[in-house]
C-alpha cells in the first residue's frame, strides 16, 4: 500500500513537472519563420539555401527544444517590404511563430522589426546589410547576425589602405545605400591616411559600365571601390575586366560581394578583387565539414548569409533550451549571456544594441591557377577582430542599448 502510494505520488509529480515544462513553451512548440527572397535578386545568396541552413540547425539540435518540438515555416517576400510585413504579422498573429529569421534586404528587415517590436518577438537578421539596424533603427528584440555596412567599410577600406592602396576612386550606385557606403568607406580611407581622388555615380540599376570604368581608369587611383551591390557589382567587374583595369595595375575593392557573385563571374574575371566577408567555407575543418554537408543538400557552397542563418537559429535554440522556455525576454537574456561558439563564430557576443560581434575576414579572390578545386575562390588575407569591424558599443545610437 505504502509503496503504491509513493509510486502514485512519484508518477503524478513527474507528470506535473513534465506538464509544467511543456507549459513554459507557448503553444507547445517552438516555431521559427524564415522570411527570405526565393525568386528575386537575392535568391542565390539567401533564398532556399537559408531555409536549408535553418532546417540543418533544427535537425542538428535534435528537433526539440525545452521539451517542445521545433517547427519551421518559410515564405518568399519577393524583396517587397509590404509582403514581408503582411507575412510576418500573420505568422505572429495566427501561426504562433516565435522568431523571424534571415530577412534579406534592409527594407524587409526594417518592416519586420516594426512587427517584431509590436508583437514582442525576436528577429534574427542575417541577409540585410544596413548598420542602422543596430543603431538608429534598432529594436530591443532585433539581432543583426552576419555582417553590416560598417564592417564592410572598415574591413575592406582600412585593410586595403594599409597594404598600400592609398588612392581611391569610387563607382557608386546613385541611391541612398551606395552613397552611405561610399561615405563610410571614404571616411575610413581618409582616417587611415589614404586619399579619395574622386567618385562617379552610376544609375541604379545599370548594365553598361564602360564609361564609368574608363573614368576610373583615367583617375589614376590605385584602388577602384565599388559602392554598389548585386548585379551592378557583377556588371561593373565584368566591364573592368574587359578594359583590363586590374591587368593595368589598379585593383578593385568590391564592398558588398558574396561568394555566389564570384561563382557567377568566374575566377578569370574576378581574380584580384578584395572583399570583406563574415564567413568562408574553407577556413578550417569545422567550416569545411559543415559546408560540405550544406553542399550535399543544395549543390552550392554556403554564403555568409546562409551560414549566418544556421548560426543564429542554432544560438536561438540553445538559448531556448537553456532558458527552458520560448518566452522572448528570457530567451533574449540567454542569447546575450551565452557566447556564440560554433563553426561560424568563435566567442561571438550578442550586444545589447542587437549586434552580434564576431570576427570578419578580408579576402582576395584567387587567380585561376591558384585555385585547386570547385569553390576554392578566396585567400584569407587578414582576420578582422569583431570589435574593430563592428565598432564599440558606444558608437551605436541605439536608444535601448
Amino acid at each position: 500500500m505504502n509503496i503504491l502510494k509513493k509510486l502514485a505520488l512519484g508518477v503524478s509529480a513527474t507528470a506535473m513537472i513534465a506538464s509544467a515544462a511543456a507549459a513554459e513553451v507557448s503553444d507547445g512548440k517552438v516555431k521559427i519563420g524564415v522570411l527570405t527572397d526565393m525568386s528575386s535578386t537575392y535568391s542565390d545568396l539567401a533564398g532556399n539555401g537559408s531555409v536549408v541552413a535553418a532546417e540543418m540547425a533544427i535537425a542538428d539540435f535534435g528537433g526539440t527544444a525545452a521539451g517542445a518540438p521545433i517547427e519551421l515555416i518559410s515564405a518568399d517576400h519577393q524583396n517587397k517590404a509590404d509582403i514581408a510585413a503582411n507575412k510576418a504579422r500573420q505568422w505572429g498573429d495566427s501561426e504562433q511563430v516565435d522568431v523571424f529569421a534571415e530577412l534579406v534586404t534592409t527594407s524587409v528587415a526594417l518592416a519586420v522589426f516594426e512587427i517584431a517590436k509590436q508583437q514582442n518577438k525576436l528577429a534574427l537578421v542575417s541577409g540585410a546589410a544596413s548598420s542602422p539596424l543596430t543603431s538608429d533603427a534598432c529594436i530591443p528584440t532585433g539581432i543583426h547576425w552576419t555582417y553590416n555596412t560598417r564592417a564592410l567599410a572598415v574591413g575592406t577600406g582600412s585593410a586595403v589602405v594599409k597594404e598600400g592602396g592609398d588612392t581611391w576612386y569610387f563607382l557608386t550606385a546613385d541611391y541612398a545605400f551606395g552613397e552611405s557606403l561610399e561615405r563610410d568607406v571614404a571616411a575610413v580611407v581618409e582616417a587611415e591616411g589614404g586619399q579619395v581622388l574622386g567618385s562617379i555615380k552610376h544609375p541604379f540599376p545599370s548594365s553598361d559600365f564602360s564609361s564609368f570604368v574608363l573614368q576610373a581608369q583615367a583617375s589614376g587611383a590605385k584602388v577602384v571601390g565599388l559602392a554598389n551591390a548585386g548585379a551592378d557589382t557583377v556588371n561593373a567587374i565584368k566591364a573592368a575586366n574587359e578594359f583590363g583595369l586590374v591587368a593595368a595595375g589598379q585593383s578593385i575593392a568590391a564592398l558588398l560581394t558574396f561568394i555566389t557573385d564570384i561563382h557567377a563571374l568566374g575566377l578569370d574575371t574576378a581574380q584580384g578583387i578584395q572583399l570583406t566577408t563574415g564567413f568562408y567555407w574553407d577556413l578550417n575543418d569545422e567550416t569545411r565539414a559543415w559546408s560540405q554537408r550544406f553542399n550535399e543538400k543544395t549543390g552550392t557552397m554556403p554564403t555568409m548569409v546562409q551560414a549566418g542563418v544556421y548560426s543564429s537559429v542554432m544560438h536561438y535554440l540553445k538559448a531556448v533550451e537553456a532558458a527552458g522556455t520560448d518566452d522572448t525576454d528570457a530567451v533574449l537574456a540567454k542569447m546575450r549571456e551565452m557566447p556564440v561558439d560554433d563553426f561560424f563564430a568563435k566567442g561571438g557576443e550578442v550586444r545589447s544594441d542587437g549586434r552580434m560581434v564576431h570576427d570578419m575576414y578580408l579576402a582576395r579572390v584567387k587567380a585561376p591557377a591558384e585555385s585547386t578545386g570547385p569553390w576554392d575562390y578566396y585567400d584569407i588575407v587578414r582576420t578582422i577582430p569583431g570589435e574593430e569591424a563592428f565598432g564599440p558599443l558606444s558608437e551605436s545610437n541605439c536608444p535601448t542599448k
Binding site: 525568386s39 518568399d76 519577393q78 517590404a81 509590404d82 504579422r89 498573429d93 527594407s107 509590436q118 541612398a176
Partner: protein
C-alpha cells in the same frame, strides 16, 4: 434589382469575412481592389491605358506616410492629403499625357511615372530603398484604436466602399456615358460638341485620386511605404488585375485584384514559392488567349446567353 442583391450579399460577406480569414490579408486585398477599380475607370470606361498608375498609388502612399508619421496628422486627414496629392499629380501628368492616344499615351504615363519613381528613390524623406517605415496607424475619428486589426479592417472596408461608390456614381452618371462614347468613337463625341480632352482629363484625375486613396490606405495598414509601391511592376500588376477580372465591368477589377493578391499571398509560402511570377505570367497569357472578357465579363456573357 439583381445587381443590388448581389452587392448586398458581397457587402455582407465582407462584413463577416475577418472572422474567418486573416484581416490584414483582407485589408491588402481591399486596397488593391480599390486601386484596380480606380484604374478600370480610365482603362475600362475611358479606353485610356495608363502605364503609370503606380506613381499615384505609391506617391500617395509616401505622402500619407510622411504626413502621419512626421507631421502627426490624424489618419483620416492623412488619407485625404494622400489622395489630394495624387489628384494633383494626376492633373499634371494627365495634362501632358491625354494630348496623345494609344501607345503614346501609355509611354508618356510610363515615362512620367518612372520620373516619379526616381524622385522617390533619391528624396530624403522617403528613406530611399529602405522605404518609409513605422507609420503609426493612429485612431479613426479620434476614438477607435486602429492598432486593433479588426477595427482597422472595418475602417479600410469603409474607405473601400466610399471609393467604390464614387466610381459607380461616376460610371453610371451622364459623365460616365460620355466617357463611354469617347472610348467607342472619339471623333463622334467631338462632333457632338463635347470637349473630349476635358472629359478624359477629369476621368484621369479622378482615377489618380482614388488610386492614391488606395495607396494611402495601404500605407496605414502596413505602416510602411516602399519603392515597390511606385515601381512600374505595380503599374503592370494593376493592368493584370483589371484584365483578369474583367475590363469595363464595375466589380471585375476587384475580383481580379482578389485573385492576384490571394495567389501572391498563398503561393509565397507554398512549394511554388519561387514560381510566383511564372504562375502569374501564365495566368495572364491564358486569360488573354482564352477568356478576354475576364472573369466577371465571361460570367456576364454566360448569363446573357443562358437567360
Amino acid at each position: 434589382m439583381n445587381t443590388k442583391v448581389g452587392y448586398g450579399i458581397a457587402l455582407a460577406l465582407l462584413l463577416v469575412a475577418p472572422f474567418m480569414i486573416y484581416p490584414v490579408f483582407l485589408m491588402k486585398l481591399l486596397c488593391f481592389a480599390l486601386f484596380a477599380c480606380a484604374f478600370n475607370l480610365i482603362l475600362g470606361y475611358g479606353g485610356l491605358l495608363s502605364f503609370g498608375h503606380a506613381a499615384f498609388f505609391g506617391g500617395a502612399a509616401y505622402i500619407t506616410g510622411h504626413v502621419i508619421k512626421v507631421w502627426g496628422l490624424p489618419t483620416e486627414l492623412g488619407l485625404l492629403v494622400g489622395a489630394g496629392s495624387a489628384a494633383a499629380l494626376g492633373y499634371l501628368i494627365g495634362m501632358l499625357a491625354i494630348r496623345r492616344q494609344g501607345i503614346y499615351f501609355a509611354m508618356i504615363t510610363l515615362a512620367l511615372a518612372q520620373m516619379v519613381y526616381f524622385i522617390f528613390i533619391s528624396a530624403d524623406f522617403t528613406g530611399g530603398e529602405n522605404g518609409l517605415q513605422g507609420v503609426p496607424r493612429g485612431y479613426a475619428l479620434g476614438i477607435f484604436d486602429l492598432q486593433d486589426n479588426l477595427t482597422m479592417y472595418y475602417f479600410v472596408l469603409a474607405v473601400f466602399v466610399i471609393g467604390f461608390l464614387i466610381i459607380a456614381r461616376a460610371v453610371y452618371s451622364p459623365f460616365g456615358q460620355i466617357l463611354g462614347a469617347i472610348r467607342d468613337n472619339e471623333d463622334r463625341a467631338t462632333s457632338l460638341g463635347y470637349d473630349v480632352d476635358r472629359y478624359k482629363h477629369l476621368a484621369f484625375v479622378l482615377s489618380a485620386a482614388l488610386a492614391g486613396l488606395a495607396g494611402s490606405t495601404k500605407t496605414v495598414v502596413f505602416q510602411l511605404a516602399s519603392l515597390t509601391d511606385v515601381h512600374w511592376h505595380t503599374s503592370g500588376e494593376v493592368v493584370l488585375m483589371t484584365l483578369l477580372g474583367g475590363l469595363g465591368t464595375i466589380a471585375g477589377p476587384a475580383v481580379g485584384a482578389g485573385v492576384i493578391v490571394t495567389l501572391q499571398n498563398y503561393l509565397a509560402s507554398g512549394p511554388l514559392g519561387a514560381w510566383v511570377p511564372v504562375v502569374l505570367g501564365t495566368i495572364f497569357v491564358v486569360c488573354v488567349l482564352a477568356f478576354r472578357r475576364g472573369i466577371i465579363g465571361e460570367l456576364h456573357a454566360m448569363l446573357k446567353k443562358s437567360f
